[in-house]
C-alpha cells in the first residue's frame, strides 16, 4: 500500500479570488469609493439634503431595476419596462382627467399592466419568440398605441391631493417616504428571490433551463410569472415616477433612458444576462452606484452630453470588469446568448 | 372541425399534438411463449371450447358448440346436448349452470339431468359470464342487448354500450346495471364486491354487490387488450384476454365513413378487427410488420389474433401472464381456471384446452 498522494495546493489567481467575491459587495465597494471621491471633489455632496435627494431620485429606476433583475434571473429580458412605467402614469392621469375616480383608474391601469405582462410571458414562454424581440415590440406597441388611440394631451400633471402624490410626499420619522417605499420593495423582492421556493425555481430555471424542466419545475408558467411580476413592478415604478416628478410627457420612445438605467443597474449589480446569477442585494448596490454617479455628474454641471459619455464609460468599465471576472468559457458557453 | 383544430394546434406547437396510441405490453404483461409451450389436453381442431370448469373429481367440463363435454383421463364424452350454442358455465351449489343462446339459463345436475333454470328474456341471449353471489343468487353479464353472443365484432364497430348485469334468483331475473361496454367477465369476491371486466372499455373494475349500478372503482384501466372472463383462484384472479388491441382497428373506429362502408359491404369475418384466430390469409390484409422475412414472422409483429391471459394478485397488480405471440398458434383464450395447482385455459382460437405450466 503506497502513501496516499496529497492533492496539490491550488493557486488562485487574483482574478479567481476576486471572482469569488460577491459582485454586490464589490459594487458597494465601488460606490463607497465613488462617494469618497465625490466628497473630496465636490461641494455639497455630503449634505443630508443631497444624500436624501440621491436616494429619492434612485427609487424609480431602482424599482425598475428589480423588475429587470427578476426577469433576467429567469434568463429572459424585458425591454418593455420603461414603456409600461410611462404608460401607467399617462393612462392613469388621462383616466382621471376623464373623471374616473382615482381608485378605479389605478385598478384599471394595474390590470392593464398585468395583461401586458401576461402577453409578454405567453409569447416568450409558449410561442417561443426570443424575449428581445417580443418585449421590444410590446413596449413600442403599448407606448405608441396608447399615444395614438387614447391620449389627448401632450403633458399631464398630477392633481393636488391625489393618493399617488401622497406616495412620495413628506417623510416618516425623518426618512423620505419615497425611500421607505423603495426600501420596502427591495426587501420584499429580496425575500421573494432568495427565500421563497418560487424565487429559487426562477433562479434554477435561469441557470439551466433544461435541467430545471427535467427536474419538474413548471418552467413555462414560471417564465410567465417573471414577466407579470416585472410588469406590475414597472407599473408601480410608474406611479413612483410621476409622484416624484409630478408630471409626464407624451413624447418619447420605448428606448427611454429609464430602460437603459434599469438594465444596467441590474447588470452592474451582478445579475448576469446569462441567467440565474446575481442577487437583489447586488441590484441595490448597482442602484446606489448609478444614483451617486448621476448625482455627481449633475453637481459638476456636466452637460447632458458629457454626462452620457462619462456614464457610458463607467458602465462599460463595470461590464468589462464583470466580463473579466466571469469570462464566458468558449467551450461550454451556451450558444444563443446575446 | 375537430380535426382542423388539432391540425392548427399541432402547427403552432408540435408538442401539443396528441395522437392515440396503444399502451405497450410491459411489466406483468411482458410477452413470453408460455401458451405455446403449454400442454394441449385435446387434439387441436376437434372442439371449440368456449368456457370450462374443473369439477372436484378432477374432470373438466367444457362447453363447445351446442353441447357440454367432459374430459376425464384423456377421454372426451358428451355430457349434455343443450339445443343451442352453449356459452359460459358456472357452479351453483351442486349444479352446473350453463348459458344457452336463445334458451336462457340451464341447470345440469350432478346426475347430468338438464332443467331450465331461467328463461327470462334478459338472459336469453348474449350472456357472457355467470357468477354466484354470496346470497345464493346468480349474477349474469350480458354483453349487449342488440347483438348475440357472437356479435362482439358488431358491438365493437357500432360502439355499442348496451351491456347489462342481471341478477337471477331462481326464475326471477332483475336488471341491476345497464349501459356497459360489453361486460365480458365477472367474478364475485368473498367480501361482497364484484369484479367486472368491460371489454370495449379495456377496463376491469370493482362494483359493490348490493349496488351494482353505483359507483365503480377501476382496478386496471387502459389495458392493451379487451379483457374477458375472470376466475378467482388461490393466489389471485386469472383474466382471459381473447382479443388484443390493434392500432389500425383504433384508426378504423375513428373514421366513421370508412367504418360504415366496411360494415355495409364486407363480410363480418373479414372486418379488420381483432379475432380469435388468423386462418384465411387469402382474404386478410397484412400489416407491414407481419411480413414473413427470410422465413420468419417476427413475434412482435402487430397482432390480429393473440393468445394472452394474466393473473392479478391480491395487491391488485398484474403479477404474471401467459402469451402466445404472433408467430404462435395458441390464440383466442376465452377462459383460464385455476384448480389447486392446475391452471387450465380454454383456447378457442386454437380449438383446444391447454394446461399451463408454472414458470
Amino acid at each position: 500500500m503506497g502513501a496516499v498522494a496529497t492533492a496539490p495546493r491550488t493557486e488562485f489567481s487574483l482574478r479567481q479570488r476576486l471572482a469569488h467575491v460577491e459582485q454586490g459587495l464589490f459594487v458597494f465597494g465601488m460606490t463607497i469609493a465613488l462617494c469618497v471621491v465625490g466628497a473630496l471633489t465636490t461641494d455639497g455632496f455630503l449634505s443630508l439634503n443631497n444624500l436624501s435627494s440621491i436616494l429619492q431620485l434612485s427609487v424609480t429606476f431602482g424599482i425598475l431595476g428589480i423588475a429587470a433583475a427578476i426577469v433576467i434571473l429567469g434568463k429572459g429580458l424585458d425591454l418593455s419596462l420603461a414603456a409600461v412605467a410611462i404608460v401607467t402614469a399617462q393612462v392613469t392621469l388621462e383616466l382621471m382627467r376623464r373623471d374616473l375616480s382615482e381608485g378605479r383608474a389605478i385598478l384599471l391601469v394595474v390590470l392593464f399592466a398585468l395583461v401586458i405582462g401576461l402577453v409578454n410571458g405567453f409569447v416568450v414562454a409558449f410561442v417561443e419568440v426570443p424575449a428581445l424581440f417580443t418585449t421590444l415590440a410590446t413596449g413600442q406597441l403599448v407606448l405608441g398605441g396608447v399615444l395614438v388611440l387614447f391620449l389627448e394631451e401632450n403633458i399631464y400633471s398630477l392633481p393636488e391631493g391625489s393618493a399617488i402624490a401622497v406616495l412620495t410626499d413628506g417623510s416618516i420619522l425623518g426618512v423620505p417616504r419615497a425611500v421607505l417605499v423603495g426600501a420596502l420593495v427591495f426587501l420584499l423582492g429580496w425575500l421573494f428571490i432568495s427565500y421563497t421556493s418560487v424565487g429559487r425555481l426562477i433562479r434554477a430555471m435561469g441557470d439551466n433551463f433544461d435541467t430545471a424542466r427535467a427536474m419538474g419545475a413548471p418552467v413555462r408558467p414560471l417564465q410567465v410569472l417573471t414577466y407579470v411580476v416585472a410588469a406590475l413592478l414597472a407599473a408601480f415604478a410608474g406611479y413612483v415616477m410621476i409622484s416624484t416628478e409630478n408630471s409626464v410627457e407624451t413624447t418619447g420612445t420605448a428606448f427611454d433612458p429609464l430602460l437603459f438605467t434599469a438594465v444596467t443597474v441590474a447588470v452592474i449589480g451582478g445579475v448576469s444576462l446569462s441567467g440565474g446569477k446575481g442577487t437583489l442585494l447586488g441590484v441595490l448596490a448597482g442602484t446606489l452606484f448609478v444614483g451617486v454617479l448621476n448625482n455627481l455628474l449633475v453637481l459638476h454641471s456636466f452637460s447632458t452630453a458629457t454626462q452620457d459619455i462619462v456614464r457610458g464609460a463607467l458602465l462599460l468599465a463595470a461590464i468589462a470588469l464583470d466580463a473579466w471576472l466571469h469570462p464566458r468559457d468558449e467551450e461550454t458557453a451556451k450558444t444563443d446568448e446575446l | 372541425m375537430n380535426r382542423t383544430l388539432t391540425a392548427i394546434k399541432e402547427w403552432i406547437n408540435p408538442n401539443w399534438a396528441t395522437h392515440m396510441s396503444i399502451p405497450p405490453m410491459e411489466r406483468g404483461l411482458r410477452p413470453n411463449s408460455r401458451l405455446d409451450h403449454a400442454h394441449a389436453l385435446l387434439t387441436p381442431g376437434d372442439y371449440e371450447p368456449e368456457d370450462l370448469l374443473v369439477l372436484d373429481s378432477g374432470a373438466i367440463w367444457f362447453s363447445s358448440g351446442t353441447a357440454i363435454q367432459e374430459l376425464k383421463d384423456g377421454n372426451v364424452r358428451t355430457v349434455a346436448e343443450l339445443g343451442g350454442p352453449v356459452g359460459t358455465l358456472t357452479k351453483l351449489n351442486s349444479d352446473i349452470v350453463a348459458a344457452v343462446e336463445g334458451r336462457g339459463l340451464v341447470s345440469v345436475s350432478a346426475s347430468e339431468s338438464v332443467s331450465q333454470l331461467c328463461s327470462d328474456t334478459s338472459v336469453a341471449t348474449c350472456v357472457t359470464d355467470l357468477t354466484a353471489l354470496p346470497d345464493g343468487s346468480l349474477l349474469a353479464s350480458v354483453g349487449s342487448t342488440e347483438y348475440g353472443i357472437d356479435g362482439w365484432g358488431r358491438a365493437l364497430v357500432h360502439h355499442d354500450r348496451s351491456g347489462r348485469l342481471v341478477q337471477v334468483d331462481g326464475q326471477h331475473a332483475q336488471v341491476r346495471a345497464e349501459g356497459l361496454g360489453w361486460p365480458a367477465g365477472m367474478e364475485a369476491d368473498p367480501d361482497g364486491e364484484v369484479l367486472v371486466s368491460l371489454s370495449l372499455d379495456h377496463r376491469i373494475e370493482r362494483r359493490a354487490a348490493d349496488s351494482l349500478d353505483g359507483a365503480a372503482r377501476p382496478m386496471l384501466t387502459n389495458l392493451p387488450l379487451y379483457p374477458g372472463r375472470i376466475s378467482l383462484g388461490d393466489n389471485g384472479w386469472w383474466v382471459a384476454g381473447p382479443y388484443v388491441r390493434n392500432r389500425i382497428t383504433a384508426l378504423l373506429l375513428d373514421e366513421p365513413e370508412l367504418l360504415g362502408e366496411m360494415v355495409a359491404t364486407i363480410n363480418p369475418d373479414e372486418w379488420f378487427i381483432p379475432r380469435l384466430r388468423s386462418e384465411n390469409p387469402y382474404t386478410d390484409p397484412l400489416q407491414m410488420g407481419q411480413l414473413r422475412t427470410l422465413g420468419v414472422v417476427k413475434p412482435w409483429a402487430p397482432p390480429r389474433s393473440y393468445g394472452v391471459a394474466f393473473r392479478i394478485d391480491r395487491g391488485k397488480r398484474i403479477s404474471e401472464s401467459v402469451h402466445s405471440r404472433v408467430d404462435g398458434k395458441c390464440h383466442g383464450i376465452t377462459r383460464v381456471t385455476a384448480h389447486g395447482t392446475q391452471v387450465i385455459a380454454a383456447a378457442q382460437g386454437f380449438r383446444s384446452l391447454v394446461e399451463i405450466e408454472e414458470e
Binding site: 410561442v127 417561443e128 426570443p130 428581445l132 424581440f133 421590444l136 415590440a137 410590446t138 413600442q140 406597441l141 407606448l143 405608441g144 395614438v148 413624447t251 420612445t253 428606448f255 437603459f260 444596467t264 444576462l273 452637460s303 447632458t304 452630453a305 458629457t306 452620457d308 459619455i309 456614464r311 457610458g312 462599460l316 461590464i319 468589462a320 466580463a323 473579466w324 468558449e330 467551450e331 450558444t335 444563443d336 446575446l338 | 402547427w11 403552432i12 408540435p14 392515440m20 390493434n246 392500432r247 389500425i248 384508426l251 370508412l258 366496411m262 384465411n280 390469409p281 387469402y282 382474404t283 386478410d284 397484412l286 400489416q287 407491414m288 407481419q290 414473413r292 427470410l294 422465413g295 409483429a301
Partner: protein, 721 residues
C-alpha cells in the same frame, strides 16, 4: 406535381380517375417547401403581400417611390451592417448613435473646421469604422456581451454626438456649399441619384462577400456554431471584430449621406434608427441566433418598413403610431419566421406522402373451389437452393451451362454451380439492391440495380453501368431524372433494353410507401444500344414486370398497383400502341418471364383483400395512417401469399400454383423457366426454389433467348468485356 408530364404513352387513364386526380397539390407544396431557398421565404412573401397591400389600399403610390427609395438607400446601409453582425451571432444596437455621430462630424468638419470634402467623405466613414472598432474590441476581444455593451455604447456615442452638436451649434447653422456635397445630396450618376447608386454598389458587394467569399462563409460559420468554427481554425475573434467595424463603417456612410441630403444638423438624426434596422432585418428573415441571413432579404425588409413609413406619413399618423405599427409588424414577423424555421422541413415531410384514389374492379374470390385459382400446394415442396445463405433474391438468371445467378439484398450477385446448384459463391458486388435479371443480345448478364440503375455484369464479376438517367421532365418540381427504382428489364430484338422504373419518388428500400400511396409515379424507360435513354410510358402506377413477347413485337408490362398486364407494341403495324392484356387480377403482379411453351409466367407478390380494396377508396384515411401510425402497423394487401400463374398472349389464365403453407415460398417475386424446371425467387426469402414442371407444361422454346434471335455464339463464361 402535375401528372401532366408525359413522355411516351400516358398511362394515367388506366387508373380510371379524371384530370383532377392528376394534381397532387400537397405533394407539390411539400416539394417546393423542401427546397433550400425556401428558408427565408415566408417572411419575404408576407413582406411582398404587405407592401402590395399598402400600395393599393393607401394614398401611397408611384409618386412616393423616390421618397421611399431615399429612405431605403440610407437605412438599408444600416440593415446590411446589422445583418453582417447578426449573422455572426452578435447584435449591434449602437448604429443609430454612430449615424448621428458621423453626420454631425461630417457637417462640423466641413462647415466649421473647413476640411475639404475629399477628406470629409472618407473621414466620416472612418469615424464610423472607429466607433465600430470600439464595439468590436469590447465584444470580440474583451468578450463582453454584445447586447448590453452596444446598449451602453448607444448612449455613450449619442452623448458624444450631442456634445459635438452643442459645442458648434451656431457655426453649424451656416450652410456652406460644395460641389461634392451637393453631388452626394442631390446629384446623380447616370441618372440614378448618388445615394441610391452607392447603396446599390454596397449591396452587391456585401451580398457577394457574404455568400461567395471565404470571409462570408467564416461569418456564417461563426454565427452557426462558434465552437466548431473555432475548432476548425477560423479566427473567431477577428471575424467578429471585423463585422462590428463594417457595421460601424456602413453606419458612418449612412450618416454622411443623410447629412448631405438633409443639409442641416439635428441631434435626433439616427435616433431610433437601430430599431428600424432591427425590424427590417427581422422581416428579412435574419435569425437572432446567428448563422442564417441574407443582405438582400434584409433590404427587402427595409423596403417594407419604408413603405409603412410613407403610409403612416400619408395618413398623418403621429410618431407614436408609426412605431406602434412597426412594433406590430416586428412582432408578427418574428413569430412567423420562428415557426417557419422550425417547422418547414417537418411540414415538407408530412406532406410528401399524398395518397391517391384508384378505381378498382370487383374482386375474384380465390378461395372458391373449382376455379382456375383454386389454392393448392404445388410450390410448397420445391427443393431450395442456397437455403440460409441467400438473403433476398428478387430475380435470377441461368446461363447455358446451368449456373444460377441470383441477387442478394446485401448488394451481391450469387452464382450457384454444380449439378444441384450446391456450390454458391458471391459472383459480383453491385453496391445497390439487385432486382431484375435478364440476358442481353450479346449474352451478357444485365441486372437492374434498385437505387443505381441498369448494369451489365461480365463473366469476371465486373459490373459496368448501362444507364441510370433520363432527361428531367419539365413540369416536375421534384427532380425525376434518376432511374431510382429500376425493377425488371428485358431485351428487345433490336438490342434495346426496356426497364421499368417502379417510382420516381421513393427508393427501393421504401417500396411499402408506394403500396400505400398509389400514385402514378412510375414509368417505362427504353435504353438504346448506344446508351441513350427515353421514357416510353409515363404516369404508370408502379410498373413492375417487363417481358418481351414471344414474337418480339411487343413488351408485356405488369403493373403491381393496378393488378393488370398491358402490352406496348414496339414494332409492326401497331407500333406505339398500348393495350391491355389482363385486367382486374386478384393479386398484385410482379415479374413476367417467357415460358417454354409460348406462354408467359407471372407471379403475384400480394393478394387483393376486401379490406385493402376498400382502403384504396379512402386516400384521406391512408394519409392519416401514414402520419399517425408507425410504419410497422400500416395496412397493406396480403403480401405473405405466394402465387405463380401462367397466361397466354390473349390474357387467359391457364394455370395457377400456390404455396398453401406460406412457409417455404411466401411472396414469390419472379419465376424463370429453364430446362424443365421453374426457379422461384422471393425478395424476402432466404432461398431460391427449383420446381420440377410437368412434362406437359414444357415446350421447346428457350425462354432465355431474346425473341427473334436464334442463339448465342458464346456461352456466358467466355463473353469478352
Amino acid at each position: 406535381m402535375f401528372g401532366i408530364a408525359t413522355r411516351g404513352v400516358d398511362a394515367f387513364p388506366l387508373t380510371g380517375r379524371g384530370w383532377r386526380d392528376r394534381l397532387t397539390p400537397l405533394q407539390g407544396i411539400s416539394d417546393v417547401i423542401g427546397k433550400r431557398w425556401m428558408e427565408g421565404a415566408v417572411p419575404l412573401v408576407l413582406a411582398a403581400v404587405l407592401t402590395t397591400g399598402v400600395v393599393f389600399m393607401t394614398p401611397v403610390g408611384a409618386t412616393d417611390a423616390p421618397l421611399i427609395m431615399d429612405e431605403v438607400a440610407e437605412k438599408s446601409l444600416l440593415a446590411i451592417g446589422l445583418t453582417l453582425v447578426m449573422v455572426a451571432g452578435g447584435i449591434d444596437l449602437s448604429i443609430g448613435s454612430i449615424v448621428g455621430c458621423s453626420s454631425l462630424a461630417a457637417l462640423t468638419a466641413f462647415r466649421v473646421w473647413g476640411w475639404p470634402m475629399e477628406v470629409v467623405i472618407p473621414a466620416a466613414v472612418i469615424l464610423g469604422a472607429m466607433l465600430g472598432a470600439i464595439n468590436g474590441v469590447l465584444i470580440a476581444k474583451m468578450k463582453m456581451r454584445p447586447f448590453i455593451t452596444t446598449l451602453v455604447t448607444l448612449v455613450a456615442f449619442g452623448g458624444a454626438a450631442e456634445a459635438l452638436q452643442s459645442r458648434y451649434t451656431n457655426q453649424l447653422a451656416f450652410p456652406k456649399s460644395d460641389i461634392l456635397w451637393d453631388f452626394l445630396g442631390e446629384g446623380a450618376i447616370a441618372g440614378i441619384p448618388t445615394a441610391w447608386a452607392i447603396f446599390g454598389i454596397v449591396l452587391v458587394v456585401a451580398h457577394i462577400g457574404l455568400t461567395r467569399s471565404r470571409w462570408g462563409w467564416w461569418v456564417t460559420a461563426v454565427g452557426s456554431d462558434r465552437r466548431s468554427a473555432r475548432r476548425n481554425g477560423i479566427p473567431v475573434d477577428r471575424v467578429v471584430f471585423l463585422t462590428y467595424v463594417l457595421s460601424g463603417a456602413l453606419a458612418g456612410l449612412a450618416g454622411l449621406l443623410t447629412a448631405a441630403r438633409l443639409g442641416r444638423t439635428d441631434p435626433a438624426v439616427g435616433e431610433g434608427w437601430e430599431l428600424i434596422a432591427l425590424t427590417a432585418v427581422v422581416i428579412g428573415g435574419v435569425s437572432l441566433k446567428g448563422g442564417r441571413g441574407s443582405v438582400v432579404r434584409a433590404v427587402a425588409g427595409m423596403v417594407v418598413v419604408a413603405v409603412i413609413l410613407q403610409a403612416s406619413i400619408a395618413f398623418t399618423l403621429e410618431a407614436g403610431g408609426y412605431t406602434a405599427i412597426l412594433a406590430l409588424v416586428l412582432f408578427s414577423f418574428a413569430i412567423l419566421d420562428l415557426k417557419w424555421g422550425k417547422y418547414r422541413l417537418r411540414i415538407a415531410e408530412k406532406l410528401t406522402i399524398d395518397p391517391g384514389r384508384i378505381s378498382v374492379g370487383p374482386l375474384v374470390d380465390v378461395t372458391e373451389p373449382g376455379t382456375v385459382w383454386s389454392i393448392n400446394s404445388k410450390l410448397t415442396d420445391a427443393p431450395p437452393i442456397g437455403l440460409g445463405t441467400i438473403e433476398g433474391a428478387e430475380d435470377c438468371a441461368l446461363d447455358d451451362e446451368g449456373n444460377l445467378f441470383c441477387g442478394d439484398r446485401r448488394g451481391w450477385i450469387w452464382r450457384f454451380s454444380g449439378p444441384d446448384h450446391t456450390n454458391g459463391e458471391v459472383f459480383a458486388r453491385t453496391g445497390g439492391m439487385p432486382l431484375g435479371h435478364a440476358w442481353d443480345r450479346d449474352g451478357v448478364l444485365m441486372v437492374a440495380v434498385g437505387g443505381m440503375g441498369v448494369y451489365r455484369v461480365f463473366p469476371d464479376g465486373e459490373t459496368k453501368l448501362v444507364a441510370n438517367q433520363v432527361r428531367r421532365s419539365l413540369t416536375s418540381l421534384h427532380d425525376d431524372s434518376a432511374l431510382r427504382f429500376a425493377d425488371d428489364l428485358d431485351t428487345a430484338p433490336d438490342g434495346s433494353i426496356y426497364v421499368s422504373d417502379f417510382s420516381t419518388r421513393t427508393n427501393a428500400a421504401e417500396y411499402m410507401v408506394e403500396l400505400v400511396e398509389y400514385r402514378p409515379n412510375g414509368r417505362i424507360v427504353r435504353i438504346d444500344p448506344d446508351g441513350s435513354t427515353d421514357v416510353v410510358v409515363s404516369n404508370y402506377v408502379f410498373p413492375n414486370g417487363i417481358c418481351t413477347s414471344h414474337d418480339g413485337q411487343s413488351i408485356l408490362i405488369a403493373s403491381t398497383g393496378l393488378f393488370r398486364v398491358d402490352r406496348l407494341w414496339i414494332s409492326g403495324s401497331k407500333q406505339g400502341q398500348f393495350e391491355p392484356v389482363m385486367e382486374n387480377l386478384p393479386g398484385y403482379c410482379d415479374n413476367i418471364n417467357r415460358a417454354s411453351d409460348g406462354n408467359y409466367w407471372m407471379s403475384f407478390i400480394a393478394m387483393r383483400t376486401p379490406m385493402s380494396d376498400l382502403l384504396m377508396k379512402y386516400p384521406a384515411v391512408r394519409r392519416r395512417m401514414t402520419r399517425e401510425v408507425p410504419q410497422d402497423n400500416w395496412l397493406v394487401p396480403q403480401l405473405n401469399v405466394s402465387c405463380v400463374l401462367k397466361f397466354d398472349d390473349q390474357g387467359n389464365v391457364l394455370k395457377v400454383f400456390w404455396d398453401k403453407s406460406l412457409e417455404n415460398y411466401p411472396m414469390v417475386t419472379s419465376i424463370n423457366e429453364h430446362a424443365g424446371h421453374l426457379y422461384l425467387c422471393g425478395l424476402l426469402n432466404n432461398r431460391v426454389g427449383r420446381l420440377q414442371l410437368d412434362p406437359e407444361d414444357v415446350g421447346d422454346i428457350d425462354p432465355r433467348l431474346v425473341p427473334g434471335t436464334t442463339g448465342r455464339s458464346l456461352p456466358f463464361s467466355e463473353v469478352a468485356r
